[in-house]
């Protein structure tokens, strides 16, 4: 029910009820046709960095295993 997907803003149309400044190229979380929030690219990268830090060194990641 609370499913939402990250969607890239391709164009801004009139009458979209947006009251925040969105720019083309931003990512938003889309839920039942409405943007819940803008995704923060810096925090997204920081989360991935923390995940890599939490991982035990030595085990390959998906990308490394594929390479």
């Amino acid at each position: 029910m609370c499913l939402a997907i990250p969607i890239r803003v391709e164009a801004l149309l009139p009458d979209q009820m947006a009251r925040v400044t969105l720019r083309v190229g931003d990512y938003v979380l889309l839920h039942v046709g409405y943007a819940l929030t803008r995704l923060d690219p810096d925090e997204a990268e920081r989360t991935l960095a923390l995940m890599r830090e939490a991982a035990v060194p030595g085990l390959p990641t998906m990308k490394e295993a594929a390479a």
Binding site: C2, P6, L36, T47, A55, L59
Partner: protein, 384 residues
Amino acid sequence: MKYIDEYRDGGLARSIAATIAREAVSGRHYKFMEFCGGHTHAISRYGIEDLLPSNVEMVHGPGCPVCVLPVGRIDDAIRLAMRPEVTLCTYADLMRVPASSGASLLKAKAAGADIRMIYSSMDAVLIAETEPARQVVFFAIGFETTTPSTALSIGLARRKQLTNFSVFCNHVLTPPAIRAILDTANLPEVERVLVDGFVGPAHVSTVIGTSPYVGLAAEFEKPVVVAGFEPLDVVQAILMLVRQVNEGRSDVENQYIRAVAAEGNLIAQREIAEIFELRETFEWRGLGELPASALRLRETYAQFDAEQRFDVVPVPAADNPACECGDVLRGLKKPADCKLFGTVCSPETPMGSCMVSPEGACAAHWTYGRFRDRAKASAVRAMA
């Protein structure tokens, strides 16, 4: 897809799980509840339970709006839909939910009721606009994630001066449900769910923020880690919970920082407050009557309230007596503990709503987890 694929890296998940196994103190059992159906789905689909050490256990919570909606409200919706002037618009999740006497919205539709599945509450407003002879009722359901979209649709209907649009409101709140799980002091011992912490709501928190959990975490001394719905998000949140337990902390932490701000989405909160107010009490499947746990339309928006427009009078309705959804929703039982599971109850012929929604604990276990049960059973047989 960007912001999805990188959070589904299996190798990284295994590595973080290895850290969990190293840091989880042997001899101590860790039991965490994932609040949301979205988490339950991720845990089942990606086999996260298989990655965790045996002393870290996940129990499913009540965070599936379809699952916690009492049967009586589905009955009410079917009665509304059977009225000749009404077009009932609903999210598809609700179509197959069992109502009383074997009924469902899908069967009512087959019997001739005008029931339409929609993707967005906005679609219901557009149907009302294009079909002025129909009384369009939107069957609104969901936690705080979904409430703002309903609020915006009501606002739009008002601006368009629609007199044939109304909302059957079933929006519920997450913090009272977390309280109901934790506040077990008055319950008999067998009914107490003892958890060491929560994987906290993801998209609900984009709207309400992380502050509503702070009081709960402090009062009940349980850590809460707000987490996204991707598998790496869940695994990282479990590690954060293990660390909090080890350090004797019960803080609210935010793993889903790319989407959740501490204060939440203030615009969405204002839209909700403009149109909705608290109900004194609301019935939850599994949790019973919970005070101040659901929303209704304010008096100034009464013309858009389907309950007032059509004089909806609640008729008490009971679940299938053999259905264990109630205990599953409170984390007291696992889906396979129910004797209906996989026998008479399956996603094709659900007896309870936990088997309907893909986020329901029973549907998730049916689709993914039961194969693990079978593997375990055959391993036991092989040893015997």
